[in-house]
């Protein structure tokens, strides 16, 4: 019987190539999309789970508000690790990372520097903490002595080949010498350590041994003993404020108590987060590597489910649409003695066949689309060909989808009553109309929702790109690592400024695009011991050309000026800082602040200017208080160019670089690109939205198309009679289309409020955001309606131009 079912299924599929294609194609698109998203989500959820004791490892976080803004740090003070280890019997092991960022590296016998993008100081317990084995070197001694380092396989290969790595001597940033004492395997792509290539011994880093609870720079990881519960150390950890931090604060604010500290609206809360939660649930200052947001995982999960459900709905609609043609067959079979179960089985075999075909097509599509998807999602996902579980799940998924989407048509068709269908007439009373209409409403509601989402995300991105930043990022070239030029740094700058197409240039380590940040707390000259006067600000070291090169607007006071002798003790602050102080910009001028609180003889900075607020953090965040002061030290140089001179400029500047810093890598980037990278997550979300919206609309259209065909066929007789009675093609097409438009209008009404709510929720993450205009909903509705009209009218017109004699002859 099964063979018979298969044979008949195959023939009836072959007989309707167009419908079979629509069916297979629609389902395959849904499955391929679902498959890709599932692979992505699986990868995201697997982060940091490969470490042996991942479930026992936690990171210590700090939530701090002291003056200024409340901030959430992924880093804690240097003595945190030791204190935790000493104070809690639950803690088995602690380890710290002190991120060093990019570093220039050269072998001691070489002149040429090579850049490593991510380096860090690490405690020697790091191997045991994460169960990392050395390929080469001795785990017992690695990272124990000062000025030793361990590198990844890839880094070792890059510099000298793995075999020769141990014992090599490296010069870092042209100053410190390190000896290689170990090589480890490359760190997994789905781990928080993925970007690190070099781990230097913490033992050689002085700052790590200073007991200073005032600065937060160390990523601190703790491993609990197997029986311990992390909740048990939460309260004692919070008590660290009174135990360790307040005594430190008392050095510059004598007599301050924990109660006073809190009464002034300040807080300092230490907490922990499980290692495996970091990637999706942590978005703090100084994360080790870019994390994702669990929200985007939810959004993608929804999209995947939408897509698959849409495809199934589509399949149901198209299958029932064909049922008219099959009604006679069902009738005959029933009179020949077939029972319902047999028929259901037969139709399920048919949908199983389609579903299986779709699955093959989907896997093929996924394989082809994977590189593009990886590009889009910034991932390195591959299809786990060797994993039987994957294939099993895939097959299971295919079967479930086949059964799920096949069941409705099967039950629907097997219910046909032979006496009725064999009369050869009207499919109009075959029933199921409400369900089919409901399915169409469902499909279109989702599509309209996705259109709204796409429009809003796109608009917000555009808003960000065009927003008044408060500085000019265009035509600005940033050259990295200018400190390698050494003493000649300022003459390098002057040389560059002489080039014809260079408008201006400035040396600094701090830029409004992602760059260094440095936070300090200032106290005013008067009332320094009153903690509510404390002013927490970004403090950026800049030069005289900084404000003019990047086009900041001075709204009160003046810019730094070489003619003023005292400007080395002057600062310029931004509007937010003025607002925190609580005076007008003009009143702020002349006030003196010190970052040297608690000292006998503090030095003061005088406010000489107020700069208009500019965005130096993503638009998700508010603009913080900030101050600029003059500094000789600089990591980078920003060069403002005439428009359209990039290529020339780069080669000319590189020429100067090579004469002044021979052997040093010439690294540069455009500020605009760096700015855009800040919004990569949103860009990615937007692209994913656009792609999957398009897919879901496509699927919804397939469904509508099928249903229109079904409807037209169902009403063949009615159309024939109407035509005989003198109805025009236009009238009939209108009549056939208008029913569908009603459905589309209902779906629009359903999805507008949902879309409005959901997208406002999304926008809430941005401190600077658009208002959703009514035109968004108008446009979404218009799009949905026009797509629906385009889809349906083909079938309607086709049905309307048929010669009535033909359609009535069957009666």
């Amino acid at each position: 019987m099964f063979k018979n079912h298969l044979k008949i299924a195959w023939r009836s599929l072959k007989k309707q190539p167009f419908f079979t294609f629509l069916n297979t194609f629609g389902l395959a698109i849904g499955m391929a999309g679902g498959l890709l998203i599932s692979l992505y989500i699986h990868d995201e959820l697997s982060f940091d789970k490969m470490f042996a004791d991942a479930d026992r490892i936690h990171r210590v976080n700090a939530d701090i508000k002291f003056g200024g803004e409340a901030r959430k740090f992924a880093v804690t003070p240097a003595p945190m690790a030791e204190s935790v280890d000493n104070d809690f019997s639950e803690v088995e092991l602690v380890t710290r990372f002190r991120t060093r960022g990019s570093a220039l590296i050269r072998k001691s016998d070489s002149e040429v520097n090579v850049k490593e993008l991510q380096t860090t100081f690490a405690d020697s317990t790091f191997f045991d903490m994460f169960g990392i084995e050395l390929i080469l070197g001795d785990k017992g001694t690695a990272l124990k002595s000062p000025n030793t380092l361990v590198m990844t396989k890839t880094a070792a290969e890059k510099h000298f080949g793995i075999k020769d790595a141990i014992g090599q001597s490296l010069l870092m940033n042209n100053t410190e010498t390190f000896t290689v004492t170990g090589v480890i395997d490359d760190l997994p792509k789905n781990s928080f350590l993925r970007e690190y290539s070099i781990f230097m011994a913490m033992a050689g880093y002085e700052d790590s041994r200073v007991v200073n609870w005032g600065s937060n720079n160390y990523q601190t990881f703790i491993k609990l003993i197997p029986a311990a519960n992390i909740d048990d150390i939460q309260q004692p950890l919070e008590n660290f404020l009174g135990k360790y931090v307040i005594p430190g604060v008392q050095q510059f604010m004598p007599g301050i108590t924990e109660e006073q500290f809190k009464a002034a609206g300040n807080h300092l809360i230490y907490s922990t987060i499980p290692l495996t939660d970091i990637h999706l649930r942590s978005d703090r200052v100084a994360e080790i590597s870019g994390n994702n947001d669990i929200k985007s995982i939810y959004i993608l999960t929804f999209i995947a489910i939408f897509l698959i459900v849409l495809a199934c709905v589509n399949f149901m609609n198209l299958s029932t649409a064909q049922s008219l043609k099959r009604a006679k067959e069902v009738g005959i079979r029933k009179t020949l003695g077939s029972n319902k179960t047999d028929l259901i089985r037969q139709f399920l075999v048919e949908s199983g066949l389609v579903s299986f075909g779709s699955l093959l097509l989907a896997v093929l599509t996924a394989i082809i689309a994977l590189p593009f998807f990886n590009d889009l999602a910034d991932k390195d996902i591959s299809i786990p060909y060797g994993n039987p579980m994957f294939w099993l799940l895939l097959l299971l998924g295919g079967i479930v989808l086949g059964l799920f989407s096949g069941s409705y048509p099967a039950f629907f068709m097997s219910r046909f009553i032979p006496v009725k269908v064999l009369k050869g007439t009207s499919g109009s009373n075959l029933g199921g109309g409400n369900i089919r209409n409901g399915l169409v409403v469902f499909q279109f509601a989702i599509s309209v929702f996705l259109i709204i989402g796409t429009l809003v995300v796109y608009q917000q991105l555009k808003y960000i790109q065009n927003k008044e930043l408060g500085f000019s990022k265009d035509q600005v070239l940033v050259i990295d690592d200018v400190y390698t030029v050494g003493d000649k740094m300022s003459s390098f700058k002057e040389e560059v400024k002489k080039l014809g197409f260079v408008k201006n240039a400035t040396l600094s380590s701090f830029f409004p695009t992602p760059s260094n940040r440095s936070d300090s707390t200032f106290a005013p000259e008067e009332g320094a011991t009153e903690q509510e006067n404390a002013l927490s600000m970004q403090t950026w070291g800049v030069d005289y050309d900084y404000v003019s090169t990047l086009d900041f607007k001075i709204i009160a006071g003046r810019d730094f000026d070489r003619n003023f002798k005292n400007d080395s003790t002057s600062i310029i602050i931004n509007e937010s800082a003025v607002a925190t102080i609580g005076v007008s910009p003009n009143e702020a001028i002349g006030k003196r602040y010190t970052p040297d609180m608690g000292s006998e003889n503090p030095y003061y900075y005088k406010i000489i200017g107020v700069v208009k607020d500019f965005h130096f953090s993503p638009f998700r965040e508010d603009i913080e208080a900030l101050s600029l002061r003059l500094s000789d030290r600089a990591g980078s140089m920003a060069v403002k160019l005439e428009a359209g001179t990039f290529t020339n400029a780069i080669s000319s500047i590189e020429g100067i670089w090579n004469t002044m810093a021979p052997g040093q890598p010439f690294d540069y980037y455009f500020m605009e690109d760096s700015f855009n990278r800040t919004y990569e997550a949103e860009q990615r979300l937007s692209s994913i939205f656009i792609i999957f919206t398009t897919l879901s609309i496509l699927i919804a259209c397939l469904g509508l198309f099928g249903l229109a065909a079904f409807n037209a066929e169902k009403r063949t007789k009615e159309i024939g009679i109407r035509k005989v009675l003198g109805a025009s093609v236009g009238q009939i097409s209108y009549k056939l289309s208008v029913d569908f438009l009603k459905l589309v209008v209902i779906s629009i009404l359903v999805s507008l409020p949902v879309g409005w709510y959901a997208m406002n929720k999304w926008l809430e993450d941005f401190s600077y955001r658009i208002e959703i205009g009514w035109w968004v909903f108008g446009l979404a509705a218009l799009l949905a309606v026009s797509i629906a009209i385009a889809t349906v009218s083909y079938q309607s017109i086709k049905a309307a131009i048929v010669n009535p004699i033909k359609s009535l002859r069957t009666e």
């Binding site: 019987m1 018979n4 008949i8 023939r11 009836s12 007989k15 006679k328 067959e329 009738g331 005959i332 079979r333 029933k334 009179t335 020949l336 003695g337 077939s338 029972n339 047999d342 032979p418 006496v419 064999l422 050869g424």
Partner: protein, 220 residues
């Protein structure tokens, strides 16, 4: 006695009024009869045939088929009953377009779960008997109307039914084809198969042993 209808009523409600499709039908049919049901359009001929064939329900009355009370049977039992004893022949043949002649013949046997080898033998037998061996791999659309109806009859006959119900079996055929089919019925009847046919043609009705006239759902 093959079947017995007692006070059968069937109606539909239309515009608040009860319209009778069958009204007080009393009919006894013995095995081996050849009955022609006649009457004008809308007199209830096809309805009566469907009721007898258990494809359609009735609202009142009793129906005995062999030893079973059809009116008291559950849907499934009833289906089994007609699967076992009744074969249908339709005016528009109702062959399955996707299946070849051979496969069409095989279909009822599949539903009766007849074994493969036996099935083949029975199909071959039937093809032989109706002289259509040469056409066994053709699809219905490749046959003439008469040939299609021949296959239709063969299909109705293949599971050895006691009763064949034919709803205007020659309605779509020309006179020569009609005659062939009627001769075939006659011959089957002589072999012991009970036949009930609906027909408009006096000529065809004459093949039968008894004529039942219907008017507005009533036997006259």
């Amino acid at each position: 006695m093959l079947l017995q209808l007692k006070n059968i009523f069937k109606w539909v409600n239309s515009g608040g009024q009860r319209v009778f499709l069958l009204k007080d039908i009393n009919l006894d049919i013995e095995e081996g009869e050849f009955i022609s049901v006649m009457g004008p359009s809308g007199s209830g001929k096809s309805t009566l045939l469907n009721v007898i064939g258990m494809l359609d329900n009735f609202d009142e009355g009793e129906y005995q088929f062999l030893d079973e009370s059809v009116h008291a049977l559950k849907e499934k039992k009833r289906a089994n009953l007609y699967k076992e004893y009744i074969g249908f022949v339709f005016q528009s043949y109702h062959l399955l377009d996707d299946l070849t002649v051979k496969e069409n013949l095989e279909m009822p046997l599949l539903y009766k779960k007849v074994k493969g080898s036996e099935r083949k033998a029975m199909v071959a037998d039937m093809l032989d008997r109706f002289n259509i061996v040469g056409k066994k791999d053709l699809f219905p659309s490749q046959l003439s109307g008469g040939q299609q109806q021949l296959v239709g009859v063969a299909r109705a006959l293949i599971s050895n039914p006691k009763l064949i119900l034919a709803d205007e079996p020659t309605g779509n055929l020309n006179s020569q084809q009609s005659e062939e089919i009627m001769d075939l019925f006659k011959q089957l009847n002589e072999e012991g198969v009970t036949i009930i046919q609906v027909t408009h043609s006096e000529q065809n009705a004459a093949y039968g042993s008894r004529i039942i006239n219907l008017l507005d759902g009533r036997m006259i």
